[in-house]
Amino acid sequence: MSELRLRVSAAGELTPTVRRFVLRDPAGSRLPAYEPGAHVVVSTPAGHRRAYSLVEPGGAQPREYVLCVRRDTDGRGGSVSMHDDVAVGTTLVVSAPANRFPLAPSPRYLFIAGGIGITPIRAMVRRLRAAGRAGVRLLYLTRSAAETPFLEEFAGPEDTVHHSGGRGRLDLWPYLGVPDDDVRIYCCGPPALVRAVRTLTAHWRLSRIHLEEFAAGHRQLSSPFTAVWAPDGRRVGVPAHLSLLAALRGEGVRVGSSCEAGVCGTCRVAVLDGEVEHADSVLTESERVASMVACVSRARSTELVVGPYQDEELA
């Protein structure tokens, strides 16, 4: 991955525990593009590699990357190094932006941010509101007003800022009780909040629920890809939350299956083109050359051409 060497052009406290850093190219060049929800991986002066969401909406040629880092004294030291070792003038090695939490089109939105989880949410809300969009509802959950970065920005009619200190946690059910396909939910926050939102949206359409736990470390996330069903050339989108087998089934392509856990090999399909990330425990290396197990294996390339598997000994 390409790396950037950026200079801290401004730094300051947003709250007693949150610092804001503005990163620019030392020569003043424009930076690689990003969209709301993107993050960069920063190498801290103490040697940690930490992912931080970009808090501005971004665009094609941003002048700067802005991060907000909450000091976590119980953490493994990355945020402490950012707080104690980084000042205006510090040069940081930063990855190009990546986006695991992209903003998808929707008639309406419900954003739920817990604490420093506001960072990607702010980028999204600002992007949508700058475009004059209504139906951009925000629930911003923090401990106290003093510990609420960007508090003054979220006082509008569609904003609910709730401080749990003294009042307890906000009951989310009134906001989530009735599922609505015209609403996308984006939630970023501590694991307990993300878990609560996942539980409370069990009756929603999964594709409308976008969850991001911070402090999640290096997760191996699935990427979406396109499968082409060779017999009729049908193009089937395989989103990150579905297996190839499930996506084919959803489009009416019947592939036999049994265990759906990568062990039995019943849903083996022929691979005619594209790179496969094999995740099964049944195929041999030679069998993997031209076939894959559709319930667990995915594309490494953006497109994969697959078809029915026919046993050569029977053919």
């Binding site: 009780g177 609560a196 539980t199 069990a202 009756h203 049994s258 265990c259 759906e260 856990a261 425990s281």
Partner: protein, 260 residues
Amino acid sequence: MVEGRGRVDALFVYPVKGLSAQPLDRVALRPGTGFPNDRRFAFARPDGRYRPGTRVGLPKQEFFALVSDPRLAGLDTHVDTGTDVLTVRVAGHDVLKADLGTEEGRDEAMRFLTPVLDLPAGVTPVLAREPGRRFTDAAAAGDGPMNWVSVVSLASIRDLEARTGTVVDPLRFRANVVVDGLPAWSEMDAVGRELDLGGVRVRAVHRTRRCAATEVGPGTGRRDLAVVSMIHRTYGHQFMGIYVEVLTAGTLAKGSAVGV
């Protein structure tokens, strides 16, 4: 079940394939009829082979079930087996109460499932229900297997936990009868023999080959533990639990003895 004696630790009925377990204190078993109220309903795929009146067992892929649709496990459901009223709760809140005995109730329940199963707007599952039939996985093997009762042994699950360093909730295996106090894996050797299940005579007929339904965390709606590949890697097979066929009538109660 071959050596020593164990006891019945828990009894569960699953009135709807893929939905919540309902604990029982006792159950009356009779030869040839299976576990009362178990898998009496299922959600059939609208583009699949099930039609109202289908009197042959179909493979589980014809239905929405945990193997393919883990989100069903995020719903806390209950069927009153006396009235066929289905209640669905999410985090303690009632979100559906529908009488599966009426067309209106069935339609309401099927519409509720459209987003949960991520079906296109306007597409619903078909509620499968056939008097005298049940939608067990084994039903695809014939009407005799359709009425097999599933049994898991806690000792075997604990052995899997110890060998893999994981916590495996016995509810993942969705058995009707959970037994304890037997040597780990001894139930597998019982296949082909008759057993005494709390005073009910049964014959152990088959080992239960596991699928990805066991990878779904009960109550979570997500696949969170690779149970099938854990079993495969640890033991070189895919089995957990057995099916038994009921030979004599009797009431099976929690806590009753299990033995040869």
